[in-house]
Symmetry: C2
Subunit: 333 residues, 2 copies
């Protein structure tokens, strides 16, 4: 008779916690107390501002099982959370994780989710040093809190953009959601797009480098789609923006899959989140050329304007059209 695989119910919370505790760093250095007490206790960050994020990822909303491994789901959740620290030009330092899982879940699946979260957290220098697990009758729900720091004179908010400044994006836009589409339509190939969806990067180093070399006045990560995230910068900065369709950085794979499924590339790219590329403004309009050295694409896509005209796009057909925030909105069907 084949042995049934062990579930979380078979193991129980204490065995699971004991197991993931071995994947956490030991106390010492700046960690006064991690797991094993009521709170995480650490040294403060002297002479730095304190950054805190919280992000929840729900199965069926933010991810589905089957498109990648459970380890990759963990990796993606952590990268998405760390990306919020990158968007402030901060350094991630620690993270806490709360997992709500079904008792029927396979024990090794739960371990794999944690292992993906932790390997990515360590990659970015913010190991998971605490958290909790709860059972739930609902979907897998992962909440990540990342604690970071940033020098007072280097924090970049969304609110600093000024009329006349250039608008830039890093990398390509739309690739992650195109990757998800490739999964949903059971397309073989398009591995670069699928990889961008499954295991996005948090651009901590790039953000810090940009901030060191240029006068970056506002920044956000593209998690909700360029149209929505540019609207966020405009709203917080009290300005407008004009961007150029022909300047939008679209990858060859993105163009290829859009053609295959007869999708309007521009509107898809503007509304696609989950790339975790950076959108930022600066008074320097020559970054693109200078930055080729770092082997990371940086593209100037437009200019900050005053707020009276809102956000507009100069289309290839010479029309100028308003850009409406079309990113994902929770609860709306």
């Amino acid at each position: 008779m084949p042995k049934r695989a062990k579930t979380l119910a078979d193991a129980g919370e204490f065995e699971f916690i004991k197991s993931i505790r071995t994947m956490m760093p030991k106390d010492g250095g700046n960690i006064i107390r991690s797991v094993g007490d009521d709170c995480l206790v650490t040294e403060s960050f002297e002479n730095s501002l304190l950054l805190n994020t919280i992000d929840t990822f729900v199965e069926g909303i933010h991810f589905k099982q089957g498109y990648g491994t459970l380890t990759q789901i963990g990796q993606r959740c952590m990268a998405a959370s760390v990306s919020d620290i990158a968007a402030m030009s901060g350094n991630p330092v620690y993270s806490l994780v709360s997992l709500s899982l079904s008792p029927n879940m396979l024990y090794n699946d739960a371990i794999n989710i944690f292992s993906g979260l932790q390997s990515t957290a360590k990659l970015y220098g913010c190991p998971i040093v605490g958290g909790e697990t709860t059972s739930s009758a609902g979907p897998i729900t992962i909440t990540v809190t990342v604690i970071g720091k940033v020098e007072r004179d280097r924090v970049i908010l969304r609110s600093g953009a000024i009329t006349g400044e250039s608008i830039y994006v890093t990398g390509y836009i739309g690739d992650a959601m195109a990757g998800l589409m490739a999964f949903e339509r059971k397309e073989s190939g398009f591995n670069n797009l699928k990889k961008k969806f499954l295991t996005p990067l948090a651009l901590v180093t790039l953000s810090r480098a940009l901030n060191g070399l240029y006068h970056i006045t506002s920044m956000i990560d593209i998690s909700d789609g360029l149209s929505t995230d540019l609207a966020n910068i405009s709203y917080e900065s009290g300005c407008g923006a004009e961007i150029y369709e022909e300047l939008l950085p679209l990858s060859n794979d993105f163009r290829r899959i859009s053609k295959k499924f007869d999708i309007d590339m521009t509107s898809f790219a503007l509304s696609s989140g989950e790339d975790f590329e950076l959108l930022f403004t600066t008074d320097d309009d020559t970054i693109s050329d200078k930055f080729q050295l770092m082997n990371h694409r940086i593209t100037r896509i437009g200019t900050i304007t005053d707020s009276s005209k809102g956000i507009r796009i100069h289309c290839k057909n010479n029309n100028v059209e308003p850009v409406l925030p079309k990113g994902y909105e929770h609860f709306k069907s």
Copy 2:
């Protein structure tokens, strides 16, 4: 035709966020940036240690609708989270909240949950200054992160108990779970017990006061049951403990409901969590008398021993029995 009540799907995430944003403090003082950016950005806590908690509350596991209002559910979740800061003898400063809610949820119900979370957070001095909302097909899931601080020489860990010291608990034990039992068995009356379950207090002020007046060597909040939480102190401190059945502080209502349902008071009290009373150790065995001034019951229940004998209870019948951790364990059925 009666108008259908507004749901989260009718309103959408942006309207909901706009509404709860009005309940949050404005930026200023030590808050550089709260909502409206990728992270919470605050001043660091100079000369203090940094405390961080994360707690998740899942409908059907941690709370049920119908026993109290949704506002009270929010209040209870926040108090439970702040209690972790109290257990370190820290001061809560800010909190972040993540809500995973069904699109079908009534809009006002969601507002009420947030309002309960926020009113309690403000009560303890740690207003909610950021967070996020996500839709979910599953149960209501509330994750709270509290950020706190504590002076380096005043932090109390679980690990400092020493053989010969006295073990104390604040308040009464078992009342909260007895209150839940009253709800489950549809008992009228027992309002004190029900109130203890619905709206427990986080003992921040009491913890700070105790810590200022006495040499407290270890502390934990009773969230998982006295037997489990005392086992946690013993494990982290590398010691044993002996407690006395006749010393356990049981309220009159607790005794009354236990008799009514023929429940073994001692084993129920030892395994009942959710009280958020404090369990602590100190070398002073006269606190109980001194502390009556503060109108808060503090009861000496036993003594820390060396680790060889584990945790034992001296029963009223003069037997000495081992105390096994019988608190709640997730995933186990």
